[in-house]
């Protein structure tokens, strides 16, 4: 029994990898081969589908757009969340508990509720179809999450460190950037990872707020499905390319990822 249980993760990983493997094989086949017959692996692997994406501006600009707003969002979210998380972890102040809950409630707001109002808000202030609009809209659920994760990590740092630094004559900004931030480095990494992740995977709001100039790759893909009559190979290749950035990012935070998912509270 105990011996057999060891194989469970292997079965689970096979279950996880099969659909991804299928996407990968399809991305290496031509459309004629995909529709012509059923085969478990490509008979003549071709990189033509990937070449289509990497040479066609309407495709690859989608990746660039997505990357720009995801990075913008991560920077904005962390910049505002760091001081706030510090305040929540160290001080009591008027309305702190209510404010914290209100922030969290936004993490739990269904994106479908906000899609239409966001469209009107950003259209009226002239930010429709810009990267910054998507980045700002995604702060709605990323800032609360970042505050929560960072607060969890910061509460693990003993308060004596703050006090010692004050006695040693460090000003608050110097203390915060030179001493405190390196101490919670892994927490910042995990929070950045989560901001990246949730902004990267979100489609509904990103699609609603963009039309041409800032259109994310996810939206480019949906258009292709409906318009040009199922170009399966290119679609699969585009899918594979959206998985790559995530895989790279996971590798860097692999040792902290589990703690991060527990919101710094283990």
């Amino acid at each position: 029994m105990i011996k057999n249980i060891r194989f469970t993760p292997i079965f689970y990983i096979i279950f996880l990898m099969l659909p991804i493997y299928w996407l990968l094989t399809m991305s290496l086949k031509t459309n004629a081969e995909i529709l012509g017959g059923f085969s478990l692996w490509p008979a003549n692997p071709t990189l033509a589908n990937f070449k289509t994406i990497l040479t066609d501006a309407s495709w690859y600009s989608g990746y660039i757009n997505s990357t720009i707003y995801v990075v913008l969002n991560t920077i904005i979210s962390l910049a505002v969340a760091l001081p706030a998380a510090y305040a929540f972890s160290r001080y009591r102040f008027l309305g702190d508990k209510h404010l914290f809950f209100w922030l969290l409630s936004n993490r739990m707001a269904p994106p479908a509720v906000f899609a239409l109002p966001f469209f009107q808000l950003y259209s009226s202030i002239g930010l429709f179809d810009t990267h910054i609009a998507v980045a700002l809209a995604h702060t709605l659920f990323n800032v609360p999450l970042a505050v929560w994760i960072l607060e969890g990590f910061m509460s693990g740092v003993p308060k004596e460190i703050d006090e010692t630094a004050e006695i040693d004559g460090y000003s608050f900004p110097t203390f915060f950037t030179r001493i405190f931030m390196p101490l919670i480095g892994s927490g910042i990494g995990v929070a950045a990872f989560f901001c990246f992740m949730f902004s990267w995977v979100e489609l509904l709001i990103a699609r609603t707020l963009t039309s041409i100039d800032a259109k994310p790759i996810a939206a480019v893909m949906t258009r292709t499905v409906s318009a040009s009559g199922m170009d399966w190979g290119v679609l699969a290749a585009a899918g594979i390319l959206t998985i790559v950035p995530g895989a790279i990012v996971i590798w860097f935070v692999r040792n902290h990822i589990a703690k991060g998912f527990a919101l710094g509270r283990v």
């Binding site: 001081p83 404010l99 739990m108 998912f261």
Partner: protein, 290 residues
Amino acid sequence: MQKQTNQKAWFLVLPVFLLVAFSAIIPLMTVVNYSVQDSFGNNEFYWVGTEWFVEILNSERFHSALGRQLMFSGLVLAIEVPLGIFIALSMPKKGWGASVCLVLMALPLLIPWNVVGTIWQIFAREDIGLLGHTLAALGVDYNYTQDALAAWITVVVMDVWHWTSLVVLLCYAGLSSIPDAFYQAAKIDGASRWAVFRYIQLPKMKRVLMIAVLLRFMDSFMIYTEPFVVTGGGPGNATTFLSIDLVKMAIGQFDVGPAAAFSLVYFLIVLLVSWVFYTVVTAQDAEANK
């Protein structure tokens, strides 16, 4: 940790407050505004009070979407939580095996949601998909675009594929915080495998499990993109969950008033659950810090 009272801390929180207020309160006010008015077009609105709320709360359409949503969330939780615990228990504790497991398992979590939909749309197709083709070869009648049951199975299995890893990672984090001494003590006492799980591992996982259950509840309750890509809410309305229905109403039919009332009711349900979540987690935090 003992916290000092310091009202100046508000200055540190102010940027977050302003930013989130901008992206949350203004849109929410727009929704409230629409939910109490009707329009004949031309931007002329008149007050209708609670009419839309009464209409939504009594509509067959909302009830059935809510019913499907609750059933979906319930099913997904019932499968993902026990499965996640089981896999976390059987994972290697440390070394390169654990790293490889973590990275591979986290992979589905970082795939854009519409790509998750696309992956399963392709995977389950009878003509070109591995799963659909295999099932057809075995003589199983499976067509997720025609048959409601097949559509449901596809959507649920897709969600299990997508999100079980979240439960696994959370449980793994909880398990790896248990000191070895606990297991050694259990071994000396001759505790059975079940006793170790029941009295050592489960209590240690309680906190993270609570987070897992509630995160999964909320996210499955808001699900939109994945089933939309795979089934488009069909066949018929079989997989039209709350968000899909709402988007249909607001953007497809442009019934802004009812859609706004729908949004607020929907948001209030989620808010209620998140309040329970918050209360439970903070109570646990307080207990742990004693």
